[in-house]
């Protein structure tokens, strides 16, 4: 994971050399909804539906800087694996145009599909030795619900964003978004499928802005 994280970090920097020069930082805390049930496993996340609203459990938020940014020629592929009959990670924010692979790490069949208007696809049934690894490119921004046709309880979320600047909070809601361009932007946070909060931000180079989402 650490290797992957570094790769992703390098990729961002290699794609956006401007960001290296102008690096503004936003950090703060998102007030996450109270978790009603204690997590079964500390590190295991699930997607729960309540009243048609999808969110992670325990709650996690995605903070991203909204705006029009030039599209890169290519983007590194991301991955949502199926392991122990869950999606890993359970919530994946990606920039639009990103290819996401869905490796099956279980010993059973999975059939990943999505009926979400943003991206409809059906990967069909496959096992872990399936090659090439089934993948989809997510072009349009929006929330994609991942399901498995065989394991009805499996849910995963892919949040497709227009921006390259996004980060997931920790379970306490703390976040830090660095390497941001200076200028007027809207800082948004996705809390669940129905709740997105936003705040206008004035970013200046070399400055660290503190923003809290109540």
């Amino acid at each position: 994971m650490r290797v992957r994280g570094l790769l992703w970090f390098n990729a961002v920097f290699s794609i956006m050399p401007v960001a290296l020069l102008a690096s503004a930082v936003v950090e703060g805390r998102v007030e996450l909804p109270k978790s009603h049930t204690a997590p079964i496993q500390a590190k295991r996340y699930e997607i729960v539906t309540k009243g048609g609203v999808l969110s992670t459990q325990p709650p996690l938020a995605v903070v991203y800087l909204d705006g029009a940014f030039p599209k890169p020629a290519s983007l590194p592929a991301k991955e949502v694996a199926q392991k122990d009959l869950t999606f890993v990670p359970v919530l994946l924010p990606v920039r639009a145009g990103t290819k996401v692979e869905f490796p099956n790490l279980d010993d059973t069949y999975h059939n990943i599909f999505s009926y979400s208007p943003v991206k409809r696809f059906d990967l069909g049934r496959y096992r872990r030795e399936e090659r090439p690894i089934p993948a989809q490119v997510f072009d349009k921004p929006g929330l994609v619900t991942l399901r498995c046709d065989i394991h009805e309880h499996m849910r995963g979320l892919i949040l497709v964003l227009n921006t390259p600047y996004f980060v997931m909070t920790d379970t306490d809601g703390h976040f830090r978004l660095s390497g941001l361009p200076a200028g007027h932007y809207t800082l948004k946070t996705w809390i669940d499928s129905r709740t997105t909060r936003e705040k206008p931000v004035e970013l200046k180079n070399g400055q660290t802005l503190h923003v809290d989402f109540p």
Partner: protein
């Protein structure tokens, strides 16, 4: 008498009429009651039988439907658990709902329509639709796959809200032929496997299961009444229309989910049953309708009526005969009784009349005797006075005096007879009262014996006396004396020359008995010498006027004593008079 017989006959006849009327009334009442009860029973039986039949058919239908419903519920649960359905519902991909369900429900729509007997198991649907969260039908992208419906029919599938449980409904589907068919629709809720909420409903339309008309004996026709429309294809349209209104009003007026009533279809009486097919459903109320012809029970009733009527007539005839017989049997003793009482009455009347006339006669004769005696007495007195005057005159020849003297004696006799008669008449009339005083009988007898011997024509008889002095009897001296005189005169009169008269008196504290016996001719047995104006049958020189003994006895009896003949044989005739002794006097003496 004639009218009495007539009246009696009329009485008997009216008794008979009343009896017959009573029997007729009873029989008529029984017959009417029999009619009523039979009618009620037949009607009730018929209704119960038909009701049972209806319920049995219906429960069979319900069992089949339950099978189908259970199968459907299972299918829907499985369906609802499918991630694709959920995805379609939850991920705002309604357009993918039908395609997703298509594979799952493929078998519902495929294949030919099964034969009716397998309809329940086959789950062969005509169409299906999904309802969205507000209960509105989600339009299928390709109606051909899910069974085509026109807009009007499809609109009937919508519900006011999503149901928690299976809902059964009946909708009318208009067909090209214009007849229209009834579809049974079942709405099954789809629960979210994550939240447990109802997220949708699947509405599946079937050809309704039909009651099998297997019972040939009961010609049942059944259909469905739904949405205010009757669907009973075997009935002509006009009949359906008229029935439709009746069912609508019956359903509207009654809270009951099932009932029955009589209707006329094609001019024949029928029993119509209805029962709610979908109680508590969100779909409009639908009723199973079955009509049964009542011809069978009517025929049975008709037959039974004839039987009861015949029985009633027979009973009436029997009653007529019985009333006659009974009336005759009853009337015979009544008749006899009437006759007897009539005779009794007549007899009594005759007896009463006789008694009255006898009494009157007796009174008249008593009065006559008294009157006659009185009337006779005065001329006798005049006659005697005349004779006595003549006797005192001188100058007649001696034989004239003798004759005059005899005549005078006869006047005395006549006076005696008249006195006796007068006394007797008083006794007869009951007017004679005894003033009872102590009378010295011994002295009285002595005096009369002296008089007797002093009589001029007394025959040569010897007199024996045997009594104590001063024996007192209770009586009136006049009449006691008369009794003694009568007996002594008789004893002298009927004696023979040289004969004997024996007089004895015995007494005790209670009675004094006087016995007077005389020699001479005896009284023949059987001759009633105490009869008034009795004369001895045998010729005799002695003469009496025939009332002496009678008078003596009457007087003795008036004294509470008696006079009787003790014996009359062997030249000896003896009378005995019993007097009551005077109180205390004899004892003192």
């Amino acid at each position: 008498m004639r009218s009495a017989v007539q009246a009696r006959d009329e009485g008997v006849a009216s008794f008979r009429t009343r009896l017959f009327t009573a029997i007729m009334v009873i029989v008529a009442t029984l017959t009417a009651l029999g009619f009523y009860l039979a009618q009620r029973k037949v009607t009730a039986d018929a209704e119960r039988n038909l009701q049972e039949n209806f319920q049995a058919e219906l429960s069979l239908l319900h069992k089949l439907e339950e099978l189908r419903h259970a199968a459907l519920a299972d299918r829907c649960d499985v369906l609802a658990a499918k991630p694709r359905i959920h995805a379609a519902m939850e991920d705002n991909a309604i357009d993918l709902l039908y395609p997703s369900a298509k594979d799952e429900l493929r078998d519902l729509m495929e294949g030919d329509e099964p034969p009716p007997e397998q309809a329940a198991q086959s789950l062969h649907a005509k169409f299906y639709r999904f309802l969205d969260s507000t209960g509105v039908v989600i339009k299928p992208p390709n109606p051909y796959d899910v069974g085509e419906l026109d807009a009007k029919t499809e609109a009937q599938l919508a519900l006011s809200r999503l149901p928690d449980t299976q809902q059964i409904g009946y909708i009318r589907e208009n067909t090209e032929t214009g007849g229209g068919t009834i579809d049974e629709v079942i709405a099954v809720p789809i629960f979210s496997s994550y939240t447990g909420d109802v997220i949708s409903a699947l509405v599946i339309g079937f050809k309704p299961l039909e009651l099998e008309e297997k019972n040939a004996e009961v010609e049942m026709r059944s259909g469905v009444w739904a949405n205010g429309q009757l669907h009973l294809p075997s009935l002509p349209k006009s009949a359906q229309a008229s029935l439709n209104e009746k069912i609508a009003s019956a359903v509207a007026s009654s809270d009951r989910e099932q009932d029955n009533f009589r209707v006329n279809v094609d001019g024949t009486p029928q029993l119509l049953f209805y029962k709610r097919l979908n109680p508590g459903s969100l779909f409009p109320a639908a009723y199973e309708i079955s009509i049964y012809p009542l011809a069978h029970s009517m025929a049975q009733l008709h037959r039974l009526r004839w039987q009861i009527g015949g029985a009633g007539a027979l009973l009436l005839l029997g009653g007529f005969v019985a009333s006659h017989v009974v009336a005759l049997r009853f009337s015979a003793p009544v008749k006899k009784l009437a006759l007897d009482s009539e005779e009794n009455r007549a007899q009594r009347k005759r007896a009463e009349a006789a008694l009255v006339s006898t009494t009157q006669e007796l009174e008249r004769s008593a009065r006559y005797s008294a009157d006659a005696s009185h009337q006779l007495k005065s001329p006798v007195t005049v006659l005697r006075a005349g004779l006595e005057t003549l006797l005192t005159r001188e100058g007649f020849k001696p034989e004239v005096y003798e004759e005059l003297s005899a005549l005078l004696h006869q006047t005395h006799r006549l006076t005696g007879v008249i006195d006796d008669l007068l006394l007797l008449s008083r006794v007869d009339a009951g007017h004679l009262q005894i003033a009872s005083t102590p009378v010295n009988l011994s002295q009285l007898v002595d005096e009369w014996l002296d008089d007797l011997s002093a009589l001029p024509d007394s025959p040569d008889v010897k007199i024996e006396k045997e009594f104590a002095a001063d024996l007192f009897v209770a009586g009136e001296k006049r009449y006691t004396s008369l009794i003694v005189q009568n007996l002594l005169e008789n004893a002298r009169k009927y004696n023979r020359p040289g004969g004997l008269i024996k007089v004895s008196v015995h007494g005790n504290a209670r009675n004094v008995v006087l016995n007077i016996g005389n020699t001479g001719r005896t009284i023949p047995p059987g001759e009633n010498i105490f009869e008034r104006f009795h004369h001895r049958s045998t010729p005799s020189t002695a003469s009496g006027h025939g009332i002496g003994l009678n008078l003596a006895r009457e007087l003795a009896r008036l004294h509470a004593g008696d006079l009787c003949l003790v014996r009359s044989e062997n030249d000896w005739t003896e009378f005995e008079v019993r007097f009551p002794a005077a109180d205390g006097v004899n004892a003192a003496a």
